[in-house]
């Protein structure tokens, strides 16, 4: 199904690198610089230096990078296939839970109850044996497989039903929201065996590295950056390919694409599953950095917030989504610290302002201005990938 790009003489990767959309190389460059600068600064610079990055900031940035990857995954489906998922937080949380289960098993007998096999919350609930779905999570490769498989499988099943029955537009948004809400309720139950409303926490170490150690935190930060860069490349690869063109066609005129002979549902299903996997990986990297995963990650409000990151940055621009995630989350950290009461006004205002006045987001609007500027200078307009303005209902 994945068609290669129509440039026969070069390998796919080379053609991808040369064909990166506007700003893509700069974006990857910034990620690269951050991946080198932050660890070096944290390790070698004195604390008094203005360029010193303290460890708490490293973890905070690592968290943002995970959010950025989540935003990227939403942009892939919303910006390029017109699928507005209000339940992407569910895939993020499932990835996070898979990682959390691995970290729980790593605690071993260092828990409060000292049970070598059962996590503390199970001992507390008087469980005597490990539920079957916890088996294998002490093996790191298996846990990582699950990080990909569980969100991917859920997205596959959900998308299979939804896209085949042509549930589109707001209906799809509403049922994705119902999905994450159902999962929220389910994970709140103690009987589920995922720690109930406390979730999974008190993690000790990952692959033998102490999670509290600065080195581990730096490692996780760099790993998150690498994941973000790879995720970005995958998204570019998909959107630049012929498959990506079909997706854009689906976004702008789904029925017409179907009438042209494309199996719309398969394209959507593919991109939905890829997006869910990216969200799951983001969740898996997020959990060891914040040290907890609980059912509130499933709440519909979280998932909607992700959409606004993308909308602020710019739909269908990929790195714009990353920018949006950083800006909004930085704003959140700033406001909840300095003006806790004003944060919801700000966030709510951002939703309204962005949809009313910045329908293309920061990056999309900037692109339009640059275009106008170039047109004035050159008097001609080069062909550009269409930027979404209106979607099918």
């Amino acid at each position: 199904m994945v068609d290669m790009i129509n440039k026969p003489n070069k390998g796919p990767f080379v053609s991808l690198m040369t064909g990166l959309p506007g700003g893509g190389k700069t974006f990857l460059g910034i990620l690269l610089v951050a991946a080198f600068f932050v660890p070096l600064s944290n390790t070698f610079l004195p604390e008094s230096s203005p360029f010193y990055v303290p460890t708490y900031l490293v973890s905070l940035m690592g968290k943002y990078v995970c959010f950025a990857l989540l935003a990227l995954s939403v942009d892939l489906i919303w910006g390029f296939a017109g699928i507005l998922s209000l339940g992407h937080g569910a895939f993020f949380a499932l990835g996070g839970y898979a990682m959390g289960m691995y970290l729980m098993r790593q605690i071993g007998d260092r828990g409060v109850y000292g049970n070598p096999l059962l996590p503390d919350f199970m001992v507390f609930l008087n469980w005597t044996e490990l539920p079957w779905y916890w088996f294998g999570f002490d093996i790191f490769p298996f846990a990582m497989l699950m990080v990909i498989l569980v969100p991917g499988l859920l997205a596959f099943i959900f998308g299979w039903f939804a896209f085949r029955s042509r549930v589109t537009g707001v209906y799809l948004s509403i049922i994705t929201q119902a999905m994450t809400y159902a999962l929220l309720l389910a994970f709140f139950r103690n009987d589920m065996g995922f720690g109930g409303n406390n979730g999974l926490t008190d993690f000790k170490d990952l692959l033998g590295f102490d999670l509290q150690a600065t080195g581990t935190r730096l490692g996780l930060f760099v790993a998150s950056l690498i994941a973000l860069a790879l995720g970005y490349l995958v998204c570019c690869f998909i959107t630049q390919s012929k498959l990506g063109r079909v997706l854009i066609a689906i976004r702008d005129a789904e029925s017409r694409t179907r009438f042209s002979g494309y199996r719309v549902e398969y394209y959507k299903l593919f991109v939905f599953v890829v997006s869910a996997i990216l969200a799951g990986i983001a969740g898996a990297l997020y959990v060891p950095q914040v040290g907890i995963i609980n059912p509130s990650e499933f709440s519909p409000a979280n998932s909607i917030e992700v959409v606004i990151w993308v909308a602020v940055g710019g739909r269908g621009t990929l790195w714009g989504a990353v920018l949006g995630a950083f800006l909004v989350n930085w704003g959140k950290s700033y406001f909840t610290g300095s003006f806790p009461d004003a944060w919801l006004y700000f966030l709510g205002g951002l939703f309204v302002f962005t949809t009313l006045f910045l329908p293309k987001g920061i990056v999309g609007t900037a692109a339009v201005w640059i275009e106008k500027f170039k047109n004035k200078q050159q008097g001609s307009s080069p062909m550009q990938a269409p930027v979404p303005v209106k979607e099918e209902q």
Binding site: A162, Y171, L356
Partner: protein, 563 residues
């Protein structure tokens, strides 16, 4: 002396006009008789002092005298005495109850409830009673409460007898039943008497008669009672033929009661389900209008409900401060107030934000979500983050007891009626007014409607206002059953969307059917799965249902909806 009580009661067994002879009138006569029989007591304190006597015969006389005063304090005194918790001070012979504190015992006068401070254990003597007295006191206590002036207390006493079934209560209970004039108290007494006869009856015939009365009763307690007796018989070595017959009739009675209980559980479930469905209907019906007519996904819908609930609170507080007499009706006044406040909010939202986003439903969704955050925070800033208390008026509290074991609370009934009324009004507006006609025209074909001279912009604003206003009225109802907090609306938003989508967009009947069927299904699932799992199943069901029928149960037909 006890025997002298009966003629008086029997005298009023068939009075010409129903009248209660209170225990006091009996006592007045008693006192006269007592005067000739032995040491008479001037008052309750005097009689209580008689308990200090060393002779049990004198103690018994005192006990009877205490009961005969029929004072509420008599009950307390006798109960304390029966429990062996009545003490006398050695110094001045006061009757007290004691309570252990760190440095001794805190003593309180049993009659005056006066505090005497802390004393040592050695300063008190316990008032001892023997078995004969114990039986007598129980008997007297039963009489005192069964013959009390307060019907509620008599009912309570009868139910207590039904639960504990002390054998010696049979005679006083029969007497009290004969004197009883209140029908519901008499029923309870009959039931208690039947239970007594059933357990302690001497012959199988008495027991069988009692069983006949009991099997007409329902409720888990009767089932428990019959089960206990059936087990007792099953444990017998060689039961006679008669007893075997009796056991069989118990079996049939049990089966009947089981059947009744199951039937009542179904009724109860349906009622609970309808009331939950009505809540869903109220929460969703405004959304059915905004979503159905305008295709606007209003994520701030829940906040309109919340605003309605807060309006109810404000109206209540205004009433409390300016017109305390009208406080009971503040809820009624809140209904139009909530409609207007939420409706105006809706019009303002439509004119300022939503009209710029027509044709872009996903953007509308995001903008209204942002709006909902702002509204929540706004309310939190004004009213604070804590729950506000909206009290239930007198006429909505309590329950309608249909039969024993089946009671429907008035506020639930009120919500069902209110939801029905709102739906009816809305249907009237949509079907019978020119505004409704224009609204339907805009739903079916916006461009055509505009060509016919309908001001679609005005219709949009009014429709959104109407939907929001109805949401506000839902808030009035929800303030009675839920916490009025800034997060009130959030709890209902997912449910409301599920109802609207399940029922079919733009169809009020669909919304009604969806809300009620989801509510009833939920309540029927709950006993098997628990509340949370029931909700999860419902969500999964709706997700699957939408796959099958993407436009809901009752989809609008025609080209117009195909966009």
């Amino acid at each position: 002396m006890l025997s002298t009580l009966h003629p008086f009661i029997q005298y009023c067994e068939n009075p010409v006009t129903p009248m209660r002879i209170t225990i006091k009138t009996i006592i007045a006569a008693m006192l006269f008789l007592l005067a000739t029989q032995g040491p008479a007591f001037a008052d309750l304190t005097d009689a209580a002092q008689g308990l200090l006597s060393k002779k049990y015969s004198e103690k018994i006389q005192a006990t009877e005298a205490i009961a005969d005063f029929g004072d509420p304090r008599s009950i307390v005194l006798l109960e304390t005495l029966l429990d062996g918790k009545l003490y006398a001070t050695k110094s001045d012979g006061r009757l007290v109850s004691r309570k252990k504190v760190s440095d001794g015992y805190q003593i309180t006068d049993i009659l005056t409830e006066e505090d005497f401070g802390v004393v040592k254990s050695g300063d008190l003597t316990k008032i001892r009673i023997n078995n004969k007295m114990r039986g007598l006191i129980k008997d007297l206590l039963g009489r005192l409460t069964l013959l009390n002036e307060d019907p509620a207390l008599r009912l309570k006493a009868a139910n207590a007898v039904f639960k504990s079934r002390p054998k010696e209560m049979a005679v006083p209970l029969r007497d009290a039943l004969a004197a009883e004039t209140e029908e519901d108290v008499a029923t309870a007494m009959r039931r208690a008497l039947a239970a007594l006869n059933f357990v302690h009856g001497e012959t199988t015939t008495i027991k069988a008669d009692a069983l006949l009365i009991l099997q007409e009763q329902h409720g888990p307690e009767v089932k428990f009672l019959l089960n206990g007796e059936a087990n007792k018989i099953a444990a017998l070595q060689n039961p006679s033929h008669e007893i075997q017959q009796f056991a069989l009739s118990i079996e049939t009675a049990l089966a009947r009661i089981e059947e009744k209980l199951a039937f009542m559980a179904v009724i109860e479930n349906i009622f609970q389900g309808l009331s939950l469905g009505s809540v869903l209907l109220l929460a969703a019906i405004g959304l059915a209008i905004t979503f159905g007519v305008m295709g606007v996904i209003n994520m701030a819908h829940g906040e309109m409900v919340m605003i309605g609930a807060y309006t109810t609170y404000v109206v209540q507080e205004l009433c409390r401060n300016f017109a305390p007499d009208l406080l009971v009706y503040s809820l009624v006044a809140a209904i139009p107030a909530a409609f207007i406040v939420a409706g105006l909010c809706g019009v303002a939202i439509e004119r300022s934000i939503i009209r710029f986003l027509y044709g872009r439903p996903l953007e509308t969704l995001l903008a209204t979500w942002g709006l909902s955050l702002i509204l929540q925070q706004f309310v939190r800033t004004i009213f604070g983050p804590t729950n506000k208390e909206v009290s239930s008026p007198e006429w909505l509290s309590g329950a309608w007891e249909i039969t024993g074991g089946l009671a429907l609370t008035y506020n639930r009934i009120g919500i069902i009626l209110f939801a029905a009324a709102v739906l009816f009004m809305l249907l009237l507006v949509l079907r019978k007014t020119s505004f409704g006609l224009q609204m339907r025209a805009v739903t079916q074909n916006r461009k055509m409607a505009a060509s016919m001279g309908i001001r679609t912009g005005w219709v949009d604003a009014m429709t959104f206002g109407l939907g929001s206003g109805v949401a506000g009225m839902a808030g009035v109802a929800l303030s009675q059953i839920d916490n009025v907090s800034p997060n009130l609306g959030q709890a209902y938003i997912v449910d409301s969307f599920m109802v609207v989508v399940f029922g079919g967009v733009g169809n009020l009947w669909g919304t009604l059917v969806a809300a009620l069927s989801l509510g009833v299904t939920n309540k029927f699932l709950e006993p098997y799965t628990g509340a949370v799992l029931a909700k999860i199943f419902i969500l999964i069901f709706i997700i699957l249902f939408i796959q099958k029928r993407p436009r809901g149960l009752f989809a609008l037909k025609g080209r117009a909806v195909e966009n």
